[in-house]
Symmetry: C2
DNA sequence: GCTTGACCCTGACGCGACGTCAGGCTGTTC
DNA sequence: GAACAGCCTGACGTCGCGTCAGGGTCAAGC
C-alpha cells in the first residue's frame, strides 16, 4: 500500500506521512525499487495510534516515545486513550454546560463574573485574582454597561420576549399561590411552555437540558434570587415543575 | 487590569496576550502613561470568546472576522459555540465507543479492519479504498500475525483470562440450553460476572458501557458469530442478560 | 513503443501560534 | 535608594505541517 492510499484511508495528507517518515515517527516498513514507500498492516496500526494520540494533543515526539516504549503493550495504550477521551468528554460537557448557563443568564438578564466564564478553561487558579477583580469592578456599573452593550436584539424584540417571559413567570407564581402541586399537570404544562419559549427565543432547549437549567435555578443563588424576587418559594417550585415535566417526557 | 493578571485569570501566558494585541485580535482598551496594557471588562469578554473559538479549532484570523462581524450578536456566538461543542461531544463519544469496541475486540481475539479503525477520524471517504484493502490483505494471514504480535500479555496471563472467559461463556450457554430466562436473576448474575471480569482483566467497564457492548454483540456480525459458534442464540441471550443486568443496577 | 496523466520522490521555503531570550523601563516595598 | 517583581519591545526558535519546484515512475491507451 503506498502513500496516497494510506493517506486517503486515514484521512491525512501525503505530506503528513512524509513528515512522519522523516522525523522517524512512522517509517513505512518497505520501499519499492523506485523508492516508493510501502506501508504494511502493522504500519497502519501504528498510524492509527499516532492519530489518536495526536488528536488528544500530544506533541509528535512524545507520541513516538509513548509508542516506542517497550513496556507499554497495546492494551495499555487503549486504556490510556480511553481515559484521556473520557476526560475530554467531561471537559467538553462542562463547556457545553457553561455555554448553556451563559445563554440562560442572558435570557434572564443576569451577568456572570469573569471568573465563572474562564473557569472552564482548566487548571483553575483560585481566590487570589477573584478577590482582586471583585474589588476592581464588582460594584461599578461597568458590568451593567457591558451587559447593555452585549444585549443586541432590537428593543421591540426584547420587549416582546420579556413580556412572554413575565407572563409565564406570573402564571407560575399564581399556581404556587393557589397551591397547585409542582408535579401536577397544569404546572408541568407551564414548565413545558417555559421550555418552548426558551427554544423559540434563545436557543434550542431539549427536555434534558431544561432539567439541567431547572437544577441550576435552585443551586445558583443568583438564579434563585431572580425567582424569589417574584415570589418566595418560586425557584424551588419552578425547578420541581421542570423536573416533573422532563420526567413526563422521558 | 494589566497583562499578568488577565493572563492568570484566563489561563494563558502574557506572551499570548502580546500576540493577540499585535495581530489585532484583542487590543487592550487602554494603556497607562508608561505603556502598560490596561484591560477592561469588555476586553475580558472578548478574550473569553477568543479562547472558546480557539479551543474549537478556529485559526485566529477567522476568530477575528467572526468576532468583528457586526451582524453577529453575542447570542449568535453562543448558539454557534453551543452547536460546535455538541458536535465535538458527539465526535468524542464516537471515539470513546471506538476505543471500547477495539478493547472488546481484543478481549475476544477478534481483529477489526483498518477501515473501521480510521472511521472515527471524520470525513470518511467510503468504499473505494475499503474494497481495495480487503483485496490486498483480507484473507491473508498478515492480520492474524499482526494480531498475534499485538497481544502482549504473558502467555500465562492470557491462558488464565481465557479460561475465565470460557467459563462464563459456558455457563451462559448452559443457562440458555436449560431455558433460564435472560432476564432472570441467575442470568443477570452471569452478566454481572461478565462485566466484572472485563473490568478486572481488560478495562474499567461500568454497567452503562457494558450495555453498549451487549448491543454490539447482536449488531456486529463478527461479535455475533463469536457467540453463535458457542451455541446458537447465545449472542441474543447474552445481550439480553446484559441489558437486564444493566437495568437492574440503574 | 510511445505518449499521457496520475502518482511518487526529495529538497526547500513559508506559516500560524506562540515560546524564549535579550536588553531595558516601571513601580512597589523595605 | 536598592532590590525585585512586573511590564515593554524586538527578534529569533519551534512544531506540524502546506505549498511549490524540479524531476522520476507506472498503468493505460493509441
Amino acid at each position: 500500500m503506498n502513500v496516497g492510499q494510506v493517506a486517503a484511508l486515514a484521512g491525512v495528507t501525503v505530506r503528513t506521512l512524509h513528515h512522519y517518515d522523516r522525523i522517524g515517527l512512522l517509517r513505512p516498513s518497505g520501499r519499492t525499487s523506485a523508492g516508493y514507500r510501502q506501508y504494511a498492516p502493522a504500519d497502519l496500526d501504528r498510524l492509527h495510534q499516532v492519530l489518536l494520540y495526536r488528536e488528544l494533543g500530544f506533541p509528535l515526539e512524545e507520541v513516538a516515545t509513548l509508542l516506542d516504549d517497550p513496556a507499554a503493550d497495546p492494551a495499555a495504550h487503549l486504556r490510556r486513550q480511553h481515559q484521556l477521551l473520557r476526560d475530554r468528554l467531561e471537559r467538553t460537557s462542562a463547556m457545553v454546560a457553561a455555554v448553556e448557563k451563559e445563554m440562560e443568564a442572558r435570557a434572564m438578564g443576569i451577568s456572570l463574573t469573569p471568573e465563572e466564564r474562564f473557569e472552564v478553561f482548566g487548571d483553575w487558579l483560585p481566590e487570589e485574582y477573584a478577590a482582586e477583580a471583585e474589588e476592581k469592578w464588582g460594584g461599578t456599573d461597568a458590568w451593567a454597561q457591558s451587559q447593555q452593550r452585549t444585549r443586541a436584539m432590537t428593543k421591540d424584540d426584547w420587549l416582546r420576549v420579556k413580556a412572554e417571559t413575565d407572563d409565564v413567570e406570573a402564571r407560575f407564581a399564581t399556581a404556587l399561590r393557589d397551591g397547585v402541586p409542582a408535579d401536577s399537570e397544569p404546572a408541568m404544562d407551564l414548565a413545558e411552555e417555559h421550555r418552548q419559549q426558551l427554544s423559540r427565543n434563545f436557543y434550542d432547549c431539549g427536555p434534558e437540558m431544561h432539567g439541567g437549567l431547572g437544577r441550576m435555578y435552585v443551586e445558583d443563588e443568583r438564579f434563585t434570587a431572580y425567582y424569589e424576587r417574584i415570589a418566595p418559594g418560586l425557584a424551588q417550585y419552578v425547578s420541581a415543575a421542570i423536573q416533573a415535566n422532563a420526567a413526563r417526557q422521558g
